[in-house]
């Protein structure tokens, strides 16, 4: 049995119907537990209580980037193997990824105000996240502008491929243009840079929780898209009769 069998919409619906309640429950438990644990951590000696914003900021940023990567893979699968579920999953992922980007930007601004003394700074990481958000917006706008679903899936797929190349280029081009204020990798394992265990474990839990949350929302939205497609097909058949 190969993984491509799940590309069949009927099989996809049947298996995800069984899977979905578990994913939703796991996401709810992990996000709640992770955030409560995160809030109960002691204040950082320099950042004070603002360090707790990290438990929302880092997982959201993580899923914002991985959401785009997932769209890229799903678009490739659609363009190469023409599985409709894949195209619909890419469509369903875009608004979730866009919201994750907004969460990362807004929590970053709320943290930046007391810590850096500014809501916004044209720092490479912040700027490239804003550009990523623009790419999400363009992708969503193109989906909603085209009526024929297959053409829309094809065109947005091509846009996703080209957009990925240029989003990556922008990511490194902005490094060139301004020096960073944002700290480096949050989960660096280098000695001396590694985060204290007090913060690390709740952060891992939050990251897992946000991943599950993304997965749960993605499954729900993809199932909705499949049902919408079915309704449209039934309507068309009804109208022909």
């Amino acid at each position: 049995m190969s993984i491509w069998e799940y590309a069949n919409p009927v099989r996809f619906m049947r298996s995800t119907a069984k899977l979905l309640p578990w994913v939703v429950a796991a996401a709810a438990i992990c996000v709640t537990a992770g955030l409560v644990w995160g809030v109960l951590t002691p204040p950082d000696y320099r950042q004070g209580s603002t360090v707790k914003i990290m438990f929302l900021h880092v997982p959201a940023a993580l899923m914002a980037i991985n959401g785009w990567l997932m769209m890229l893979v799903a678009s490739l699968i659609w363009l190469i193997r023409r599985h409709h579920v894949s195209a619909l999953a890419a469509k369903a992922a875009a608004p979730i990824g866009a919201v994750m980007t907004v969460i990362a930007l807004v929590t970053g601004a709320i943290w930046g105000q007391p810590m850096w003394g500014t809501w916004w700074e044209w720092d490479p990481r912040l700027t490239s996240f804003l550009i990523l958000f623009l790419f999400y917006l363009g992708y969503i706008a193109l989906w909603s502008a085209i009526e024929d679903p297959d053409s829309a899936a094809d065109l947005t797929g091509v846009l996703c491929l080209v957009g990925s190349v240029f989003a990556l280029l922008s990511r490194y081009a902005v490094n060139f243009w301004n020096q960073g204020l944002h700290q480096g990798a949050s989960l660096s394992v280098a000695p001396g840079e590694r985060m204290s265990e007090v913060y690390r474990y709740p952060l891992y839990l939050c990251m897992l929780g946000f991943f599950l949350l993304f997965l749960a929302l993605l499954l729900i939205r993809t199932r909705t898209e499949i049902r919408l497609r079915r309704t449209a097909a039934l309507r068309a058949r009804e109208a022909r009769r």
């Binding site: 193109l142 053409s151 081009a173 902005v174």
Partner: protein, 218 residues
Amino acid sequence: MRALLIRDLRLATRAGGGFGLGLAFFLILCTLVPFGVGPDAAMLSPIAPGILWVGALLSCLLSLDRIFALDHEDGSLDLLATAPIPLEAVVAVKAAAHWLTTGLPLTLAAPIFALLLHLPGAATGDLVLSLLIGTPALSLLGAFGAALTVGLRRGGLLLSLLVLPLYVPTLIFGAEIVRRGAIGADAASPLALLAGITLLSAALIPFAAAAALRINLR
């Protein structure tokens, strides 16, 4: 292919082709900015590289929807798609025609507009060079956006939303070259990176745009 290039150039330069509109827009932009920020040369001079590059980018954007939309309306795009030359070549030729009618005139006129914004004289050469190298990428990326939105009735606004994020790397390096020229620093590395982006676009975009056109003509 040469016939197609000549045809596109002719269509763009004759009446109703909109040739020169981009230049006029660029001039208006360079006139409006001093009204917005004040006529002080000390204020204008440091922002001139950025304004000139953003202005070039926006005036390039104005004429993008003409690349394929008119041919799509009168059906000649379908003929081009079935012509013996590959669709990728059609895209490349049309992007080249767009560059010859917008990018090249902008590049040649830029030194005059630079005077309006008090760009330091030392940077004029860098401005022309950066526009000469960078604007082909703008035309190519614009052709991709135009190919994506060719079948849409109101594609103009969507086109700018799709294309402008793609312009970010070109803008960063282009304006950086001029800025470095203005302070007398070495601009070789952003120049090389800008040339790299243009070459990457030239290698990649015709295929992506042709794929988008084939989907739209299906």
